[in-house]
Amino acid sequence: MGFTSEIHDYQLLSKIATNDKHGENSPYFDGWKAYDRDPFHPTKNPDGVIQMGLAENQLSFDLIEDWIMENPKASICTPEGVNQFKHIANFQDYHGLPEFTKGVANFMSKVRGGRVKFDPDRILMSGGATGANELIMFCLADPGDAFLVPSPYYPAFVRDLCWRTGIQIIPVHCDSSNNFKITREALEEAYQKAQEDNINVKGLIITNPSNPLGTTLDRETLKSAVSFINEKNIHLVCDEIYAATVFNSPGYVSVSEILQDIESINLDLIHVIYSLSKDMGLPGFRVGIVYSYNEEVVHCGRKMSSFGLVSSQTQHLLGAMLNDDEFVDGFLKESSRRLGKRHSVFTKGLEKEGISCLPSNAGLFVWMNLRKLLKEQTFEGEMMLWRDIINEVKLNVSPGSSFDCKEPGWFRVCFANMDDETVEVALRRIRAFVGKETTPSSSPKKPVKLKRWNSNLRLSLSSSRRFDETVLSPHNMMSPHSPLVQAT
């Protein structure tokens, strides 16, 4: 051959492909392994590990399923709906199906009690909230820029906001002294420090309702955040994917509602992230939404949405569903009621054992306070307690350190991804554990040697699960008998 052979000593792959900024090597992930090895099943494996690390809303499927049965036209596969098949299968316009964007705008408005209206033309699609968060970062920041993120925060923000975008997270630490509220002082401090370190802060991202706290931002905090970013001329991204999981007072105040309350806000700085994964319990359908008040962002973001459009089949189905006002009103009310009930059962059960949680009014989880069970008030102590909870109590819960919490002893515990019976089992086990831990007569436990989890362990495909969110319910659909494993 006539080519000069060149010896390259550069990497065959990109840095992004080979670094671990995807965040999946964190010890947080190890909780899954225990669950994967020994998953709870009420009859087949009643002593197995109960999955409480999964922020899924499994309480209201029946409502959606009923609607789908009653509305066969919304599916392009049914005899009633197949006449739309060709049009829908062919539709890849990144503006989205008009009935879909209209439906989403309608739903978002109803979630906020009709107090705000959303413009369907500002709705951009993306591959779930995961895709939405990455997309907005690509639009707002350059590699090396930073976003302020109040901690504790969703662990996968590291992947979603930073991995391929090259931006960095600057945590704004909140603590229990004031119930983890975001203070103006904390924001200013984080911002100033970044300035001193010569880091270019492009914005602030807040999750409201909060994951992992399960709390909604009060009006004053929200207004303070908006005036902060307005003053610094930086962006505000509001991740509102848990908006419809609010089940108690204080009611929900979204950023869109307070925009009219504040003098001279630069609307070009305000962006909302939404999804149907939590509010409707449909993570499999990959519906992520970016809603921006900035025309240029809408324009550019729309082009970027090509990388993660929502399947037209799904747009068509949800377009019909979300424009059905009667269904939406009924769903939001009932879903909220069920979440509230489940939250109450769970927190009251914990209270009986002397375990308190951060008072919360939203979300699919509680922020549990186990500080008094720590052998030492350190993160090592937290890890030790966590391993005990997984190995002895057989509950997979998420340690606060994985959310970058600055105080050890807090755990996020999900309650909406299981049935009532399993909740009872979990509470019984907690009861037994706490009883053992706090009984004075029990012999002092030998200090548990901190196991070194092999962070280089590459999960085999058979046991690996998607970071933070996984398909497995206690009723394992991946059993060989699952109709989804074999096509025919």
């Binding site: 499999g284 089949q313 590459r458 074999q486």
Partner: protein
Amino acid sequence: MKLLSTKATCNSHGQDSSYFLGWQEYEKNPYDQVMNPEGIIQMGLAENQLSFDLLESWLDKNPDVGGFKSAGKSIFRELALFQDYHGLPAFKNALVDFMAEIRGNTVTFDPDHIVLTAGSTSANETLIFCLAEQGDAFLIPTPYYPAFDRDLKWRTGVEIVPIPCNSSNNFQITESALQQACEEAKKRNLRVKGVLVTNPSNPLGTTLSRDELNLLIDFINEKNIHLISDEIYSGTVFSSPYFISVMEILKQRNYHKDSHPDVWDRVHVVYSLSKDLGLPGFRVGAIYSENDTVTAAATKMSSFGLISSQTQYLLSALLGDKKFTKKYISKNKKRLKRRQSLLVSGLQKAGINCLQSNAGLFCWVDMRHLLQTDTFEAEMELWKKIVYEVRLNISPGSSFHCSEPGWFRVCFANLSQDTLNLAIKRLRSFVAESFPAAAHHHQSRESSKTRSLSKWVFGLSSRVREQEER
């Protein structure tokens, strides 16, 4: 301080190119047989609309799928929750079988090496994110799909360097063209990380020859770089020479994974159901690679664009029906072949020739003889006439980075036969009125590999060609 990111405010998404502008004109005045018979006919859209009836009749016979049921049992809940980035096993199994079937089962694919993505748009971008970064480049033969500028470069920061092909040898990839690309990369201070080819080619509608594939494998081996083979049109090959996948060449050379792990680490295939099955709305793309690090990284990245679980489920049932896929592949090809013939012969009667093609949803049409001058300005002038006067949205070669002016991509599978005939009629009238001499001159020409016209055109190539500005 700049409010938005550099990516948001630059235009490397390439969507200001003429390729997209033509669409905009169409949007303003779209043809409709009844409502707007004088409107612009869309021939710039590489869609396969010929075989929906086959899909619809399958759905009629398989009602369970629509009701989120499998064997009568409801699986709604499971699908609603399913977001495992490893993908639905049933779907992956069915997909790799389908991919093998398209290749006449000469090669097989391992479902554990498939990564599912939201369309090939996402597959291509994800693969580039895994293989390259700022300061790197991928070599791509011209003419190429315009949206590669967005898909491969925009958010990744990676550059594209063209491998210039031309009509002297039917746009085949040559050694000297590859060499030329390497030199340009060097001049631009870019590190070449790989080559990306589309096979079958968009916009040419041709499959890569065995020689070209062997040339490419030798090239990437010498340079120790990657080869991405975008095979999204592999199911549209309707006549000989038949489709040869790059995988087949590796197999033929006895490059087993154990004996030659190195080359298997650097060859990757991109697939999609948007063209072969005509389902662009469903956003079904896939990356196939035997490089475990690549599939591991790409799988994590696919989080940013997973395929909707309900769509995976529908397709697992559809593609799992082997009787159906066999029938579909065969009928679809026949229909594409018929359509292509219709267009080719229709154009011939207007004195217009096409590059001889055996695949794709379009023809690569030679209108060089209709240009006022052998320049891209003249191509634009001709294009505008065709859009506004003839009222056909076709795509000018310059938007595909073609190095020779006068070529146009014309799609034939996204419109009805009647509409296609009307389009041909309009073009024939246009040529007869505007270029009576040219129409007559070409009437008796046969489509053949060597054409004296192309020799004449290349006699002109000693003149300085306009550099296409991008």
